[in-house]
Amino acid sequence: MMRPACITTCLAIAAVCALPDTTYAVEAALPSDSVYQLDAMLVDQSARPLRFRDLRGKPRLVTMIYTQCKYVCPMIVDCVKALERELTPAERLRIGFVLISMDPKRDTPAALQEVMTTRHLNPAAWTLLRPDAAGLRGIAGVLGVRYRALADGEFNHTTELVLLDADGRILARSALIGGRADPGLLAAVRAALSP
């Protein structure tokens, strides 16, 4: 016959085990001005599905491109790479570089993976994403990117490099692209990464 104390303890343990996974409840609520408030589904270059808010957890430098773009988009990638080079190796791992495609039809995970390879992008720091068609305009909306799909499948679009903090709030943005990193944006990145 078990002692009452033992029974209570066992019941307590059982009760705790029956509780749902509490890690969710411990996580702080998403701020009202976080872009991750937008519910959207995407897949990455490895065909792994994720929700937009799964990017939460570290500062991110986000931009929108499409792989068939021959004009400005390669320059955008150059620009982000130039910024990456300015950071220390430790800093580079504390930030995530995210390229989101505005061309979900053609930018399959395979196409995204090809960009990773040809541009020598470090998968530990870089994520290439393809949104579901339904969520694309919304993602562009929260990031402030304007784009138009052309009849031939190409796109006209604005250029935005958006720096998000770990919770998805916009810290800085830049429309400057060129061979070198925008010094203002670089300063903002460093500030975001300082402990």
Binding site: G138, G141, N156, T158, T159
Partner: protein, 258 residues
């Protein structure tokens, strides 16, 4: 003898249905090749618009209230700031209550693009594209494309010259256009799905100025039809907005693909 009450019953039923059709409900549009008033260098001979359905009138306060009640995330006291600016639904008396200044049959205004889009999704629908909207709005009461008629333009311009100090009339008050749609002009501006595709220069005098870098290989959109002020002003309006933005004169209606 017994046929008469039956006939009368059927007649009254038809009348009720017809009356109900004057507000709410969907209109089928055949689509086709459509030339925009905007100069689209990638589609100089027009765009092919597939057949689609468009709501007969804009979404009303009452309809949006139902949505907010069943989707409390979109209450003005709960909606995230990134999806709706601070004045979202400011004209309602409370987060889930219209009050006397927001009449049920008025078109809902002070709604952001994200909120409008969420509403349409909840109805298994979507926002119309700019092309679809322009195509539907080219009609007057008799013709499907009245854009070359100066009288059509004048009626639209007359709305712009009326001040906004008057309360909005109820939806459906305007006469139907050739498709059976109402209030595409003269009531409120309306969101479109691709509001952010209207890549125009902020200085509208720079028609087609060649800053190709700004829009990745394209110049800013210009109008091929300078006389079509209705379109010009609508484009200017939509291009000035952010997705979380809202104004007192901006509402929306939904569309469906068959």
């Amino acid at each position: 003898m017994r046929r008469i009450p039956v006939l009368l019953g059927m007649l009254s039923l038809t009348c009720t249905v017809a009356a109900a059709d004057s507000a709410g409900g969907w209109v089928s549009l055949p689509g086709g090749v459509f030339r925009s008033a905007l100069e689209l260098p990638d589609a100089p001979d027009g765009t092919r618009i597939p057949a689609f359905e468009l709501a007969r009138t804009p979404v009303t306060n009452r309809e949006f209230l139902d949505f907010v009640r069943s989707h409390p995330r979109w209450r003005r006291d709960r909606v995230p700031a990134v999806l709706a600016e601070s004045r979202y639904l400011a004209h309602w008396a409370g987060p889930a209550e219209l009050g006397s200044t927001a009449l049920p049959e008025q078109p809902v205004t002070w709604v952001s693009w994200f909120a409008a889009e969420a509403y349409c999704r909840s109805q298994n629908a979507r926002l119309p594209t700019w092309n679809e909207w322009e195509y539907a709005a080219a009609a007057d009461a008799l013709r499907r494309d009245a854009r070359s008629d100066p009288a059509w333009r004048e009626t639209i311009l007359a709305w712009y010259s009326r001040p906004s100090t008057q309360p909005l009339p109820a939806v459906g008050a305007d006469s139907a256009n050739a498709y059976g749609l109402r209030d595409l002009h003269g009531l409120v501006w309306e969101w479109v799905e691709d509001y952010s595709a209207l890549l125009v220069s902020a200085d509208n005098r720079e028609q087609g100025a060649a800053d190709s870098l700004e829009f990745c290989g394209a110049a800013a959109l210009s109008t091929s039809d300078r006389d079509n002020y209705a379109v010009l002003m609508r484009v200017a309006m939509l291009s000035s907005l952010e997705g979380a933005g809202a104004t007192a004169n901006l509402g929306f209606r939904c569309a469906r693909s068959p």
